[in-house]
């Protein structure tokens, strides 16, 4: 057979096939990597969107004066003495009465049987409304009350009729009732604002748990991180980049910073526990301590990116300033630093976004557990009172036994990722807007 450049021989064909294969491996690797990203994000959205909807019952409750205000004097102190235990039967009776009026047939006879449908928090909600406005007593008021976690799960498909057989909190009869109530529009899912603004709830009330307090905890920590790490990081970078002589001490500092950036975050947690809590006796679980630990963790990141942006300012700027008689300090602070500022801010924001998602060190300083229960009542309380943070709250929910909390954990992740995304977007926009090429 005649050989020609136009007719590839077997060896060339083999080599070309190998070339195509090799290229395909690369494309497949990228496809796998991107598909992991897609799978991860869709899993989060599918599992987490449920947390943004919650099942409510609209029940007209007759606020019986005989039960709520025995003296009849409408004295606020007497009314406040009636605990939530006094309200729960009223709600249950009201729900049963509503069933009768809608002529929904059910084998459940007693008002106490309604307990499985209503969240334990409903009584507190009604009580708060009554204490806020005592004239409501004696009237029939329609409340939108939280349904119990199982009812919510049934509407979202988490609780199934097969599973209910082994569940001692709710029976199939209740589910029949829920179906009927749903048809009558008494039971309905609505947007769950309380999940974004609310506080954590006890193990048995997943329907009430929210991220709001933990978000405030994260916010307080980030404030500490920003206030401490930006000035310290910028000052350290200026010294290392502009002033430091080349000697052993500065070499040591440089090696240190690059190694600190790779120290596992949990080790920073141990440092925080030993230095801030055991040695300095700062309060445990406080966002202030969390912020201090995260500051130490974020500093190397900020220093590295700040040095890069200082380095990218051309030497001619410094030379020109020195040439017209500025001191070195003036050249740096009047000319180099302002020009490097966009880059520094971008690096800082990215460092803070990293700190925002960090969980492990927070576990060691006690920002996990049933801590994010109350809104801070002031600035110092926001920094010093026990609180959780967004990622630690997600971890806390993931550990709890009730599967209803898993939905909350996924939902929490959606909130966390949205916050991270917006923070990073700010960084990208800053860079786009102010970036300068020399």
């Amino acid at each position: 057979m005649k050989k020609s450049l136009l007719v590839p021989d077997a060896r060339t064909r083999r080599r070309n096939a190998a070339e195509k294969r090799f290229r395909a491996y690369g494309a497949v690797a990228i496809a796998i990597g991107l598909s992991f990203l897609v799978v991860l994000l869709t899993t989060i959205i599918i599992n987490g969107r449920g947390a943004f909807q919650q099942t409510y019952l609209s029940v007209p409750v007759y606020l019986d004066p005989a039960k709520l205000d025995k003296t009849g004097a409408r004295n606020p102190d007497d009314i406040a003495k009636v605990s939530t235990f006094g309200y729960a039967p009223l709600i249950q009776t009201a729900l049963l009465a509503q069933l009768r009026s809608l002529s929904i047939a059910t084998p459940l006879e007693g008002a106490a049987d309604m307990k499985a449908l209503i969240s334990p928090s409903a009584a507190a909600e009604v009580r708060d409304a009554v204490i806020a406005d005592t004239t409501l007593i004696g009237q029939t008021v329609t409340f939108k009350l939280l349904a119990s976690s199982r009812v919510d799960g049934y509407l979202k498909g988490r609780v199934t009729r097969d599973g209910v057989a082994r569940d001692k909190n709710i029976d199939a009869v209740h589910l029949d009732l829920v179906d009927a109530l749903r048809a009558a529009n008494v039971v309905a899912k609505r947007f769950n604002l309380a999940f974004i603004t609310g506080s954590d709830a006890s193990e048995s009330r997943p329907e009430q748990a929210g991220m709001g307090v933990a978000m405030l905890g994260s916010l307080a920590m980030m404030a500490v991180v920003l206030v401490l790490s930006l000035p310290i990081g910028v000052a350290a970078s200026i010294y290392l980049e502009e002033f430091a002589p080349k000697n052993r001490w500065t070499d040591l500092i440089e090696v240190n910073i690059s190694n600190l950036a790779a120290v596992p975050s949990i080790v920073f947690g141990i440092l925080g526990l030993a230095a801030f809590i055991q040695f300095a006796h700062l309060p445990q679980s406080a966002p202030l301590v969390g912020g201090l630990v995260l500051t130490l963790m974020t500093l190397p990141t900020i220093i590295i990116s700040t040095r890069a942006s200082l380095k990218s300012v051309p030497p001619s700027i410094r030379d020109a300033a020195l040439g017209v008689g500025a001191s070195k300090m003036q050249a740096v602070f009047h000319h180099v630093l302002p020009l490097a500022m966009p880059g520094i801010l971008t690096g800082t924001i990215i460092g803070i976004a990293q700190a925002l998602g960090e969980t492990a060190p927070l576990l060691l300083i006690g920002m996990v557990g049933y801590v994010a229960t109350n809104y801070p009542d002031g600035v110092s309380s926001a920094f010093l009172d026990p609180n959780s943070a967004m990622p630690a709250q997600i971890f806390e929910w993931a550990k709890r036994a009730d599967p209803a909390y898993y939905e909350r954990a996924w939902g929490g992740i959606i909130i966390l990722l949205v916050v991270l995304l917006s923070v990073n977007l700010i960084a990208i926009l800053l860079r786009r807007r102010f970036e300068r090429r020399w």
């Binding site: 070339e19 290229r23 350290a236 060691l364 993931a398």
Partner: protein, 481 residues
């Protein structure tokens, strides 16, 4: 004299010093700022600096020392020596509580001093939000009252001392200020000192880490033999005593999970890097690289939840009792390893891509000139040239895998086990640090102290890997520069 008042006074003082210094310099130059050595504002800053810096240092020092001195003095009033620490903290709590009560107006200052040691104090303190565990004994109350008196006295003394120092500093600056004073040089020296302090904080952090780990580790080895820790093959802590705390099963779990993670991340990451750096158009690369890097930006708690609730159950369906029967529960080495591998892909791909981009084009052109195809060039020229850097990238990913916490806490299980089956639950060094230090552990027990020894082990391993990786990458860079 309260702290806020002192701070406010100092700030006002600083502003006054600035104005005074500036005015004196201008006066000495006869109102013509051209006759001055430095710009007028530097004279002001100089005076403010001289007034505030020594005063602020004294304030910080005093605030750090006063509780210790007072604690010593108060402990002399306590008779029972064995429970001194506990009683002392009671004393502090009562004293602080009384301060709060006075500040909130629940009781007058004279009333607070005249309190008798009965139930009223506890009720009073509970009322202002400082609840006590038990009723106050006369001894504690006595010590607390003494503590409060000394505290108030100390604060007054501190205020006077700080203001005196500030005044002396200002006087010194005032006497020195004149038109030939090199004010700018002094101010800049002060700023430079600040910059150096900031730069030293990173070093202090490292020292802090080492100190906090080393002190407790030494204490741990004093009550638990080091040989048993490093070579023990059983990990069974029990807070009742009689724990076996061998690190080997934890190290094995750590390494096994990291190995699986690298088996996932290295091939995918490396091929992705090859495609990005050698085949992809710049436009495609600028889209795909950041997308892959999103994987590294997602918080690890998200991966942990993904492992626990998605990957674990999925693997259990495939390999569990219903499928191949190798797996018993959703938490396993495989679960954590796979998910961690996903997280590490961008660590390998981005760094390798940068390093392959640094291989000089002339090497590739030479290879093409000899008739090699693109893939032959990559395999036989680019990869060998970039190999040290790629090894560095893989080592960095490994150090990341070893130090990773949330994925293994949620995905790997809690059983410390030396086994080969990747579908068994195992646990890691990081997961055990978390479990030993969270909860109400007594920090002096070996079961809690072991966490510091584990932290030290982890710190040394990751630091070693990191130092090697940086060294390899740096050596490689020098090759072509």
């Amino acid at each position: 004299m309260s702290l806020t008042l002192i701070a406010l006074t100092l700030i006002a003082f600083g502003i006054a010093a600035y104005a005074a210094g500036r005015a004196r310099a201008m006066a000495s130059a006869g109102g013509d700022s051209r006759a001055l050595h430095s710009l007028p504002r530097y004279y002001g800053t100089y005076a403010a600096m001289m007034a505030l810096v020594p005063a602020a240092l004294l304030l910080a020092l005093w605030l750090a020392m006063q509780p210790m001195v007072l604690g010593n003095a108060a402990s002399r009033l306590i008779v029972a020596p064995d429970e001194q620490g506990l009683i002392l903290s009671d004393v502090r709590r009562v004293a602080d509580g009384l301060d709060v009560a006075v500040a909130e107006g629940a009781i007058s200052e004279n009333g607070a001093q005249a309190l008798a040691a009965d139930g009223t104090i506890r009720d009073l303190l509970a009322q202002v939000g400082a609840p006590l565990a038990s009723d106050v004994t006369p001894e504690v109350l006595n010590a607390a009252q003494a503590y409060r008196r000394m505290d108030a006295y100390g604060m007054r003394l501190m205020g006077i001392a700080v203001l005196a120092v500030a005044l002396a500093g200002l006087a010194l600056a005032w006497s020195r200020t004149d038109k030939d004073l090199r004010a700018r040089n002094s101010v800049e020296a002060g700023m430079r000192a600040l910059l150096i302090i900031a730069a030293s904080i990173a070093t202090l952090t490292t020292l802090g880490i080492i100190a906090s780990l080393a002190l407790s580790t030494v204490e741990f080895f004093r009550i638990y033999p080091a040989a048993d820790f490093f070579f023990g093959t059983t990990w069974s802590p029990s807070f009742g005593g009689g724990s076996e705390l061998g690190v080997l099963p934890l190290l094995w779990g750590t390494l096994y999970i990291s190995l699986i993670a690298l088996l996932v991340a290295v091939p995918i990451g490396l091929f992705a890097a090859i495609y990005l750096s050698e085949y992809a158009s710049p436009r495609l690369r600028s889209v795909i690289k950041p997308l892959l890097e999103v994987l590294a930006g997602i918080p690890t708690i998200v991966y942990g939840l993904f492992a626990l609730l998605t990957v674990g159950p999925l693997l259990l369906r495939l390999f569990g009792p219903g499928g191949l029967g190798w797996m018993q529960a959703d938490t396993a080495v495989m679960t954590a390893g796979l998910v961690m591998g996903i997280m590490l892909i961008p660590f390998v791909s981005s760094l390798s891509d940068d390093i392959m981009g640094g291989v000089p084009q002339t090497l590739r052109d030479g290879s093409y000139g000899l008739g090699a195809t693109k893939s032959e060039t990559i395999r036989q020229v680019v990869l060998p040239a970039a190999l040290p850097g790629i090894v560095g990238a893989v080592l960095l990913a490994a150090s990341r895998a070893i130090g990773e916490t949330m994925i293994v806490v949620l995905g790997a299980g809690a059983a410390a086990r030396l086994g080969m089956n990747p579908f068994d639950a195992m646990t890691t060094v990081t997961a055990k640090i978390v479990s030993q230090l969270t909860g109400d552990a007594d920090f002096a027990s070996p079961e809690a102290l072991v966490a510091f020894a584990l932290g030290m082990t982890l710190f040394v391993i990751t630091l070693g890997l990191n130092v090697i990786a940086l060294w390899v990458v740096r050596r490689y860079r020098e090759q072509y520069d």
